[in-house]
Symmetry: C2
Subunit: 195 residues, 2 copies
DNA sequence: TCAGGGTCTGACCGATCGGTCAGGCATGCT
DNA sequence: AGCATGCCTGACCGATCGGTCAGACCCTGA
């Protein structure tokens, strides 16, 4: 039976998310998390095999959405790829700001962990799509600046509601992305979202 | 007499810059730096009072240029401030990519150190200038995304020569920045600044 | 020749890290 | 009552961190 009288597992997860977002993964010790929960460090390691497993469970939802976006991107080219990448990433970044903040600056080392095996390749494809699959330096640079900047900005703008942040970022991306040969189709009035 | 037969001081500084840029400040131990130089950890601490002093000396030139940019910005408003901020920061980011990479993700903690006392305020003013001193959320978000994105991009694009990276970034910023009421004057052949 | 200062090092320190382990405690089932 | 199980803990471990210190090794000037 699952006796959820006190969801210590979830409390640890929430505390870790809060601490990681402020002081980073490496900068947060298991002691810190335990102190915030109000339990012992051994309890944290009772619910999670190790620190890395804690991080992996924390990031799992965001990684799943990123994988879905990657799937949507396969086969798309040019302006269509740009638009899907823009909408998908902005939405992902806004929804998972805290998770993204966790990775702040520790991407290179963290990506070496098996839990994040293919994230680098996925983000490379995402960047490529946002550049309209163009190999012009201007397009590639713009795509990287936007992806990195949005990640950082979302981590910082914790006080801005999603509904305000998302359209502002999307407008910025559409304005900043280097246009490709195929013109970007005018977005219709309806704002239907496909899964 | 300064006997520079073997400039260990400089070698340590260079090695620290290399390691910090890859594994970050906190992720690099004094042992790592000493190993790269080929000396003992005690030697590193003979030339530098502590790890923080090593970082401070490493970042001093970049901080100096940032301060100069901050001075240039005082008094400017609107499109003029945007243009000076754009040019100044792009140039700074391109020149000091490695130094900027050091700070990757460790900004919040590092800024607490006395060596970086006023960096936060300066970067806030820089962001404000790039937003054309507008308080509209779109302008503020765009400014933050661009500053953060450029920092991150410069740290990653180590293989692109300065002369190629700088104009690409500047073009992107001019395209992406939210225009303010006073229209940005078309950049003429001469490059003087008007209010 | 020798004193002295600049340079460098191995050994060591306390603190903290992630992680292990045996056992205490409460509860539910038989 | 007795036992098993889930949850939790203090004590402890080896490794590594930043930093200290006494002393060895030059080189130079007197």
């Amino acid at each position: 039976m699952v006796r959820a009288v006190s969801d210590t597992h979830g409390e640890i997860l929430a505390a870790a998310a809060r601490r990681f977002a402020v002081t980073g993964y490496r900068g947060t010790s298991l002691q810190d998390i335990a102190r915030e929960v109000g339990c012992s460090k051994a309890t944290v390691l009772y619910h999670f095999a190790n620190k890395e497993a804690l991080l992996a469970e924390l990031m799992a939802p965001a990684i799943g959405v990123l994988r879905d976006l990657d799937d949507q991107l396969t086969g798309l080219t040019g302006a269509a790829a740009q638009e899907v990448a823009a909408q998908g990433f902005v939405d992902l970044a806004v929804r998972f700001r805290r998770e993204i903040a966790v990775l702040r600056g520790e991407f290179p080392e963290l990506l070496c962990q098996p839990a994040f095996a293919h994230i680098q390749q996925i983000s490379d494809r995402l960047r490529d799509a946002l550049a309209g699959h163009s190999d012009r330096p201007g397009a590639r640079i713009a795509a990287l600046v936007l992806l990195a900047g949005i990640s950082e900005a979302c981590a910082e703008f914790v006080d801005i509601p999603d509904d305000e942040l998302r359209p502002a970022l999307l407008t910025l991306v559409r304005r900043a992305v280097e246009p490709v040969a195929v013109p970007l189709p005018q977005p219709p009035t309806t704002e239907d979202k496909d899964s």
